[in-house]
């Protein structure tokens, strides 16, 4: 039962925080931490998805009408493509750092990812949310019922409920995107300062996990919200 001293590794590439013994331990801890965090996010979004699903089941005609008439699937679809591409560029950024490419390459891919993320937000803000606002589709901000919705009869109120869920779910998603953009900015700066190397890409990998997760949430949101009911009357 003798004591043995455990030496530190990791000089040269990547700083090992004081609580860790090795770079490997630090990297694994970071990865596990991010996966656990993403699990909490699944439960977080999951609570909302559950409530949304219950009400879609109960008020399908109103939800169909709202999705068909108010939301525009073309913007949702474009944004889906944008995000999928951004996941690709993110993966390429990590690959670039991992394989020891010049830092400007990694930075380029990171910048592309950010541009795509900003594009997503731009489309959402300008062509969807702003348009919804000026057409009085935002609950709590002058929401107005349209006379042509009266075919829903007493279910008309559920159009507003749908929009509530729409803004809440996409808003929460957008918030995660904005945080993601902040993280990408930090990564950009770190890359510029030569912090990464083939042996040390942990922050990029972990952020990549987060970014892919935000992408996957959107891939669920898009059909759930934009593709309720058919495009043609049945």
């Amino acid at each position: 039962m003798s004591d043995a001293a455990v030496t530190h590794e990791g000089h040269g590439h990547g700083h090992v925080a004081h609580q860790f013994e090795t770079v490997e331990q630090q990297r694994e801890a970071g990865q596990l931490g991010m996966w656990l965090f993403l699990m909490t996010e699944i439960l977080f979004f999951g609570g909302m998805f559950t409530a949304y699903t219950v009400y879609r089941e109960l008020h399908l005609p109103a939800f169909e009408l709202a999705s068909r008439e108010i939301l525009e699937a073309k913007y949702g679809a474009t944004n889906t493509a944008v995000l999928i591409c951004s996941s690709l560029t993110m993966a390429l950024a990590i690959h670039s750092a991992h394989t020891g490419k010049k830092k400007w390459q990694t930075m380029m891919w990171l910048v592309f990812t950010m541009i795509l993320g900003l594009t997503f937000l731009g489309i959402k803000l300008r062509f969807e949310w702003y348009e919804d606002y000026i057409h009085h589709f935002v609950p709590g901000l002058g929401f107005q019922y349209r006379p042509e919705w009266s075919s829903l009869g007493s279910q008309m109120g559920q159009v507003q409920m749908f929009m509530c869920f729409y803004f809440f779910m996409t808003g929460l998603h957008a918030l995660h995107m904005i945080v993601g953009l902040g993280i990408l900015t930090v990564l950009l700066i770190m890359t510029a300062r030569n912090r990464f190397s083939p042996d040390y890409v942990a922050p990029l990998e972990i952020s990549g996990l987060y970014w892919h997760f935000v992408d996957i949430v959107w891939i669920f949101l898009f059909p759930l919200l934009y593709l309720v009911g058919g495009r043609y009357p049945h």
């Binding site: 005609p61 829903l152 009869g153 007493s154 279910q155």
Partner: protein
């Protein structure tokens, strides 16, 4: 229990016990059964609590530390012991589960011939409506030895309808009907409480249940204020709100006849089938487009906000009363 009236000691004990009751009166058919289970559970609880405390106490004394650096011998944990004290509690739990579930399932279904009474909970009082007409607030008169089904809804927030002496309770929800049933076995007066927190005067939302001999109850019903039976009030509403102009217009009308419809299973325009019960009728009145029938246009207006829950129940009582007529042809 052997107890003779001539034994003054036990008599006094019984008198003392009456001052410190530990259970409400057993005033319904199910109360004794619930109490038996309760006392069994109490026995189990006391047994294991006393057992554990006693063993701990005994070990505390027998194995107290005798010197500052005493290290006791090792003991081993045989798997058999672990399994035993896993399986015995499991077995006890199985027994309790089946006993309790049996009682619960048996008590859940009201007998077929129950009299129905309607309750509307609203902040902070109980409105009770007998189908024959009399209405009460915070008081419920019922006949003894007759099964009573109570159908309830709330005008506003969630309430809870609770009669401890009958061992019955059910939440009372806005927008839907819940029900419970009981058969009172003892004439007397019993507490009625609201048991789901509902706001400022939740603790004032209490009342009394009066269980009366059948003859007295009949007399009470007859002597009540000259209220119309619920179905009659409902019929009145049916005509002044304009329901009759479509629904009673005969085979050529824009709306289905409601004769005999209560309790039937209907097929709806979206392909689903439902039994026509209280909840469906209420839904049809408030959200008519959600109960569209095939072959009829979706033109019924909604009456949301135009009826309070009492009037709603009266209309439902009216529709029920149409159930005794034959269904007209062609519907």
């Amino acid at each position: 229990m052997l107890m003779t009236v001539t034994q003054p000691g036990l008599h006094q004990l019984a008198g003392v016990a009456a001052l410190f009751p530990i259970q409400p009166p057993e005033a319904s058919t199910i109360a004794a059964g619930i109490d038996q289970l309760y006392y069994f559970l109490t026995g189990i609880t006391l047994f294991f609590t006393v057992l554990i405390f006693s063993i701990i106490f005994y070990f505390m004394i027998k194995y107290r530390r005798r010197s500052p650096d005493e290290i006791p011998p090792e003991t081993h944990a045989p798997l058999a012991l672990e399994l035993t004290w896993t399986l015995i509690p499991s077995a006890i739990c199985v027994v309790i589960f089946f006993w309790a579930s049996y009682l619960y399932v048996r008590n859940a279904r009201p007998p077929a011939a129950s009299t129905e009474i309607f309750v509307i909970g609203k902040q902070w009082m109980w409105h009770i409506q007998h189908p024959e007409g009399p209405r009460e607030i915070d008081e419920l008169h019922v006949p003894v030895d007759e099964p009573i089904q109570v159908t309830m809804t709330s005008q506003d927030v969630i309430h809870g309808f609770y009669i401890p002496a009958f061992r019955v309770k059910k939440d009372v929800l806005p927008g839907r009907y819940t029900s419970l049933w009981f058969e009172a076995t003892k004439v007397g007066t019993y507490h009625l409480y609201c048991t789901e927190y509902c706001g400022t005067n939740h603790s004032h939302m209490i009342g009394w249940v009066y269980v009366m001999p059948k003859a007295d109850y009949a007399a009470w019903l007859a002597a009540g204020e000259q209220n119309q039976p619920m179905s009659q009030s409902g019929g009145h509403l049916f005509s002044i709100l304009g329901c009759a102009s479509c629904h009673a217009a005969g085979p050529s009308g824009d709306a289905p006849s409601l004769n005999g419809i209560y309790g039937q299973t209907e097929k709806f325009a979206d392909g689903s089938t439902h039994v026509v019960d209280d909840t469906l009728i209420r839904q049809a009145i408030i959200q008519p487009d959600s109960v569209q029938l095939p072959n009829y246009k979706n033109i019924m207006p909604t009456f949301k906000g135009q009826l309070d829950e009492e009037q709603m129940l009266q209309l439902i009582a009216y529709v029920r009363s149409l159930g005794t007529e034959e269904r007209k042809n062609g519907q």
